[in-house]
């Protein structure tokens, strides 16, 4: 039982930090980076993504014994697509403004490599529950970084967080318009990757 516990602890830590989807695997930043100009958009996208990753990994793992190897990619894509359609319809029905804001990017979760990557790397060879945990925490690790990007961008570019004006930043701060535009996303993400990787290497040197 204790080995089981330590295994899931390792999965969780790997997803969040050790093997973080963004700064270690550099996967799947496409569909979400575009909406990091506003924190609220990012939060919704990340929630949708985490949910889809977790559920897709779970389903792929459940069906892993019945899926012929040759067509597994297709099966995985269809599983992912079904969950994305649910998320998309849900958003359209209950939050039409958000759905319009996110535009095609909700649909693009399907092609987000992180989901496929986790399904291929973990879910096809592991039982459902660890796969669910793996998908969930990879999604969370991913969301963590992107939320950091979006908070930086919204704060420096518009002086607000979640639409609320921040003291100092909304008044005295000279707003960096570049942060709202695409280059800002690239720069912010690059700096965050740099920071995280440096912290990680120093940590490793210390332990070894």
């Amino acid at each position: 039982m204790s080995s089981n516990k330590s295994a899931s602890k390792k999965i969780i830590l790997d997803g969040l930090w050790g093997n973080n989807p963004i700064f270690r695997q550099v996967l799947g930043i496409c569909s979400t980076l575009a909406v990091t100009n506003l924190v609220i958009n990012t939060a919704v996208m990340c929630a949708a993504l985490t949910l889809t990753t977790a559920l897709s990994c779970f389903t792929v793992s459940l069906l892993r014994a019945y899926t012929p190897r040759r067509i597994r990619m297709m099966v995985q894509t269809l599983i992912i697509a079904s969950y994305v359609i649910m998320v998309d319809l849900y958003l359209k029905a209950y939050w039409p403004e958000m759905s319009a804001n996110l535009g095609p990017y909700v649909g693009l979760i399907i092609t987000n490599c992180i989901i496929m990557g986790r399904c291929e790397a973990f879910a096809v060879a592991n039982p459902p529950v660890p796969s669910l945990v793996d998908g969930l925490f990879n999604g969370l690790g991913y969301s963590l970084i992107l939320l950091a990007v979006s908070i930086t961008r919204e704060l420096l570019g518009m002086g607000t967080i979640l639409g609320y004006p921040m003291p100092y930043f909304s008044t005295l701060w000279d707003k960096w318009i570049i942060m709202v535009m695409p280059p800002g996303a690239f720069f912010t993400l690059a700096l965050i990757i740099w920071l995280c990787r440096s912290i990680q290497t120093t940590g490793r040197e210390k332990t070894s």
Partner: protein, 201 residues
């Protein structure tokens, strides 16, 4: 500006703006994974770029037809994600077979990234944008072609820059994806310069 001439002009404008002002990678962040993963060498970047142009041009046309002649009459609009991805996957499989047959070297170089064209967001992205923006067939194909070309332009220039950077000393944490993203940011900045030229959507 009505009829075919108007349509052609629109197509041309959309095509150019997809290359420069609305570049897939640099302003919509689509297709970033291969953009970072396969941009180490100009030759491979060029090969993948060509494959993307090819796949994009054709799948956008096929998807347009499938959407307007199958999904819209049947009112199965929400089904488009699945249909598009199936069409793209089938088409990529086809291209993969051709490349394997005619250019084994390219096939070896691209390795796992060829199947990943299926999950290249740029390809699905073009099809989804075409639905949202309500393009006609000619405009859609022009948009697909332009987007592919713009993507290729971006990845080839990125590979060129990264080859130059091979010799330079980059801080450890910034090596690989970090520096690539910074270069991408600088390129995006440069491409913003085009935004006054064309405003076609």
């Amino acid at each position: 500006m009505t009829g075919l001439t108007g349509e052609m002009t629109h197509a041309l404008v959309v095509c150019f703006s997809a290359i420069f002002t609305g570049n897939m990678v640099l302003s919509y962040f689509l297709g970033l994974c291969p953009f970072i993963g396969v941009s180490r060498e100009i030759k491979t970047a060029f090969g993948l770029g060509t494959a993307v142009v090819f796949v994009l041009t054709f799948t956008s046309g096929i998807n347009w037809a499938a959407y307007h002649y199958i999904l819209v009459p049947l009112e199965l609009d929400f089904f488009r994600f699945i249909l598009f991805i199936i069409i793209i996957a089938a088409f990529v499989q086809f291209v993969e077979m051709i490349i394997e047959r005619f250019s084994p070297l390219l096939y070896v170089n691209l390795g796992i990234f060829l199947p990943l064209i299926t999950v290249n967001c740029a390809i699905l992205g073009v099809s989804l944008f075409m639905v949202i923006r309500d393009y006609s067939l000619i405009v859609t194909v022009a948009y697909g072609f332009g987007s592919g070309l713009g993507w290729m332009l971006a990845i080839v220039s990125m590979a060129g820059i990264r080859q130059r950077l091979n010799e330079s000393r980059i801080p450890y944490g910034l090596q690989g994806p970090g520096i690539t993203l910074i270069i991408a940011g600088l390129m995006a900045l440069a491409f913003i310069g085009f935004s006054g030229v064309l405003q076609g959507r």
